[in-house]
């Protein structure tokens, strides 16, 4: 039992001392995940908003596909991106395998359907409320899309945070395409997996504490946003 307490004490020590190795790993994690979520939002928000606003052939199919892709198993995404980026794959010449870029791509593939599907739901609800008013005012399609995204801003921020939470905690896909190379592609989750198996519980637990804190902060942000939205009757 004492090894647990030793590890816990040591891990807090690492966090408090801002251990450079620890900081490097956290930094890379954040860079990869924030970039992936940003790109996922860039694609997922307009896609989901269009699916929730306009009637076009294949709209229902798109929604079904997006919803199905939400539950995509990360290891399968990892495998898929691996095949895409491997030397013999279609994107092989770009030599991206085992780089942070590869991890960004993998996380993006996982998060984009989540952002798109949740956005579609939010925007569809808002659209059913606004559609007649917009039609009456003669609002054009692009303005409609932008207004719906803007009016859904609180809910959509929550959506982005959900995507962030999913991406930052993800391990299966990034370990396959990133390779968990020290100082290159080692992020929080993959380090925890590796260090735990090596018996280096201090570092693993320190990262665990950081991940938990991030999860906590994200949830606090979601609740805070919701409270703000409700206060202004913007929810």
């Amino acid at each position: 039992m004492s090894s647990f307490w030793d590890a816990l004490a040591g891990s807090f020590g690492l966090v408090i001392a801002l251990d450079p190795d620890l900081m490097e790993i956290i930094g890379l994690s954040m860079r990869v995940t924030l970039t992936a979520v940003f790109l996922a939002c860039l694609i997922g928000l307009p896609l989901g908003a269009a699916a929730g606003t306009f009637r076009f052939p294949g709209r229902t199919l798109l929604s079904v596909v997006l919803n199905a892709l939400m539950g995509l198993p990360p290891v399968v995404v990892g495998l898929f991106v691996y095949l895409l980026l491997s030397a013999s794959g279609p994107l092989g010449p770009l030599r991206l395998l085992y780089t942070p870029t590869a991890m960004i791509i993998a996380q993006m593939v996982i998060v984009t359907p989540i952002v798109a599907a949740l956005t579609r739901q939010v925007v569809e609800d808002f659209n059913s409320e606004y559609a007649e008013q917009f039609a009456s005012m003669g609002v054009g399609p692009l303005d409609r899309l932008m207004s719906l995204l803007w009016d859904g801003r609180y809910s959509l921020l929550t959506v982005a945070l959900a995507g962030f939470g999913r991406a930052v905690a993800e391990v299966g896909a990034v370990i396959i395409v990133g390779g968990n190379i020290n100082h290159v592609t080692r992020v929080m989750t993959t380090t925890i997996a590796l260090e735990t198996s090596k018996g280096n519980l201090q570092l693993a637990m320190a990262l665990g504490i950081v991940l938990l804190t991030i999860a906590f902060v994200v949830n606090a942000c979601v609740m805070g946003l919701r409270a703000t939205a409700v206060r202004s009757a913007y929810a």
């Binding site: 606004y130 007649e132 009456s136 005012m137 054009g140 202004s232």
Partner: protein, 272 residues
């Protein structure tokens, strides 16, 4: 059959003006069917340029539905809607504005709601801000300019919806029960806005349940009952001597239960 105010030609302002002056908006024998149920039957009305037309009738009569058809938000199953003699198109729709029964306000400030509506009409910069400020002032909403629109009281929301519609300079304004649930002061404020607009030449089509409001604002009146026009003509005439039983019941504050019942006691199955 044409249920048109002037067909009952007895009042002073009537006659066969219709042939000389083209109505601004006409419903030519329109019907509307949804899920196999006919909700509107042969509605044939004409709205004169610059007039105030009231649409009256019990809950579920099809008043809001008629407004949607006249505004082009829904397409009639039969007949057609004409704007200045031509089919209703997007350009004609832009010359109209509508205040819905439940006002739809964006999740933004009062000011931003106005800004959005005017931007859609292509207004920008200083001209837009000036217009917003004077519109808000006209509705007594200036002090609420930065307030989120959706936390306003019901009456304030209605006033905002009305000035937002009017700020777009429509030729014709539809108002769907704009004063339902409002206190007398807010009701008066909205009626004032409507009267001002009317004085500026805006054609008004207003749905109401309120006999007093009908007396104050009505010029022409269309009485709807179960999707049929029960009676139409000059408002004063219908308010003083209604020809149809449903309109008479409404004026006297009774519930109209159907052609063969005079009171609740006659209602089939009534234990009264």
């Amino acid at each position: 059959m044409r249920d048109f105010a002037f067909d009952m030609a007895t009042g002073p302002s009537v006659g066969r003006q219709r042939d000389e002056q083209q109505p601004l908006l006409e419903a030519c024998n329109i019907g509307f069917t949804a899920r196999g149920e006919q909700l509107l039957h042969n509605v044939d009305i004409a709205i004169r340029q610059g007039s105030r037309t009231l649409i009256v009738g019990p809950n579920g009569a099809g008043k809001s539905l008629l407004l949607r058809l006249l505004h082009g938000l829904l397409q009639p199953s039969d007949g057609k809607v004409l704007w200045q003699g031509n089919a209703l198109n997007a350009k004609a729709q832009r010359a109209q504005a509508m205040v819905f029964q439940r006002p739809v306000l964006l999740r933004r400030s009062v000011f931003a709601n106005m800004k959005f509506a005017l931007s859609v009409r292509g207004l920008r910069g200083q001209k837009r801000s000036d217009k917003i400020l004077s519109a808000l002032a006209s509705a007594g909403l200036s002090h609420l300019s930065n307030r989120p629109a959706r936390v306003l009281s019901g009456g304030e929301q209605q006033r905002l919806a009305v000035v937002r519609a009017l700020a777009c300079d429509p030729e014709l304004l539809f108002l769907d029960e704009p004063t339902a649930n409002l206190d007398p002061a807010s009701t008066a404020a909205i009626e004032e806005l409507v009267r001002d607009a009317s004085a500026r030449g805006v054609t008004i089509v207003l749905v109401t349940h309120d006999v007093g409001q009908a007396r104050r604002l009505g010029e022409d009146l269309v009485f709807l009952q179960d999707g049929h026009v029960a009676e139409s003509g000059p408002a004063q005439k219908i308010l003083t001597e209604p020809q149809s039983e449903p309109a008479r019941a409404w004026r006297e504050g009774r519930i109209y239960l159907g052609p063969n019942t005079q009171s609740l006691c006659d209602f089939p199955g009534s234990k009264l």
